[in-house]
Symmetry: C2
Subunit: 207 residues, 2 copies
């Protein structure tokens, strides 16, 4: 098993498989097939079999996949079978919604530190966390050995905040600011920007 050789695009689909399997388990199902997964995800069953075969043999021909087992294997592959601490920077409307979101912990993540630079936001209590001032961010991320940051600051300061996070030891950044940030080798960035998704669909719309 040479996981490092698996193409990024396949790794990119694994979280979708995990999400679909988790949902099936919640619905009380115990067994699924590449056909059923394909229908849920809008992919061909051949694609799903090919993707999963990159990591080993997870199902038997004709009997399908055991949902709990397959979900557990994907969690292990993606390293989300434990709990990663995540720093959240920028506690405006969106940051607050994310800090309040209950769907992280059972999927491998825990928001562990909140930062902002606005005097009226610093000190605010969200759940069991207190919003801390930006000046303490690098020290705090380093001290807690946090490797993942979600950035919900305005576009014009996103690069600067990302640079500080990386200096502190962050290696994965999820950027919600509507801008691109550049990072050194070894640091991954993903973007969450609803407008990018919307603009991907209007091309196909008849007005």
């Amino acid at each position: 098993m040479t996981e490092s050789k698996v193409p990024d695009i396949i790794i990119g689909r694994m979280p979708m498989y995990l999400r679909a399997l988790t949902r099936m388990a919640e619905e009380g199902k115990t067994i699924t097939s590449s056909q059923e997964l394909g229908t849920r995800l809008g992919l061909s069953s051949a694609q799903i079999r090919k993707d999963l075969s990159q990591f080993g043999e997870f199902g038997k021909q004709g009997t399908g996949y055991n949902i709990d087992f397959l979900a557990e294997q994907i969690r292990r592959i993606l390293k989300v079978d434990g709990l990663w601490e995540v720093a959240l920077i920028g506690i405006g409307h969106l940051g607050t919604a994310i800090a309040n979101y209950g769907g992280f912990v059972d999927r491998g993540f825990q928001v562990a530190a909140l930062f902002d630079n606005q005097p009226d936001i610093i000190g605010k209590q969200i759940g069991r966390l207190t919003v801390q001032p930006m000046q303490t961010m690098v020290e705090e991320i380093r001290h807690k050995k946090i490797r993942i940051a979600m950035i919900t600051v305005p576009a014009k300061v996103a690069q600067q905040v990302a640079d500080a996070c990386i200096e502190a030891g962050v290696r994965s950044i999820l950027c919600f600011a509507p801008t691109s940030i550049t990072t050194p080798k070894g640091v991954r960035v993903e973007y969450s920007d609803p407008v990018l998704h919307l603009q991907r669909m209007t091309y196909y719309l008849q007005s």
Copy 2:
């Protein structure tokens, strides 16, 4: 120009190009190159030239791209040179953050209707909009000829809400609920789920 033949994956990158170009224009730049765009976006300059060549000739060898012109062309290709009305369903923490988000209008979208089924949320005023009850949704979307919906409801009701939107005439859905929804041919779905992004990066993290 046979735009319908352009691969989905290239259409998927065009909004990123547009975002980078808009940011460059804000920085006061007027000309860019495939090299510069590539560096910002983590893509090769060859990839960028190849993608853009699908739609015609936007730059001259050696002189680069005129940023405003290229941005305008991409807006036209993606059909975001006008303003699409969007329905937003589910006005909890996330829905409220999205309804308050100021970054839609200058990128081609306007949140034009808010819906929820909670008595304490219905009637709430957000900006110039009032949250309307779910029972009026189909009629309202149909009446306003809205083709795009953002769904920020709990996972277990996302499919049902999507079905109602489609019945009302919606053809593009951006789903923020952490679940997959199935749609008939001709209806596109994109997903915004921060955990999918996070899980795509942990695979590469050394713990």
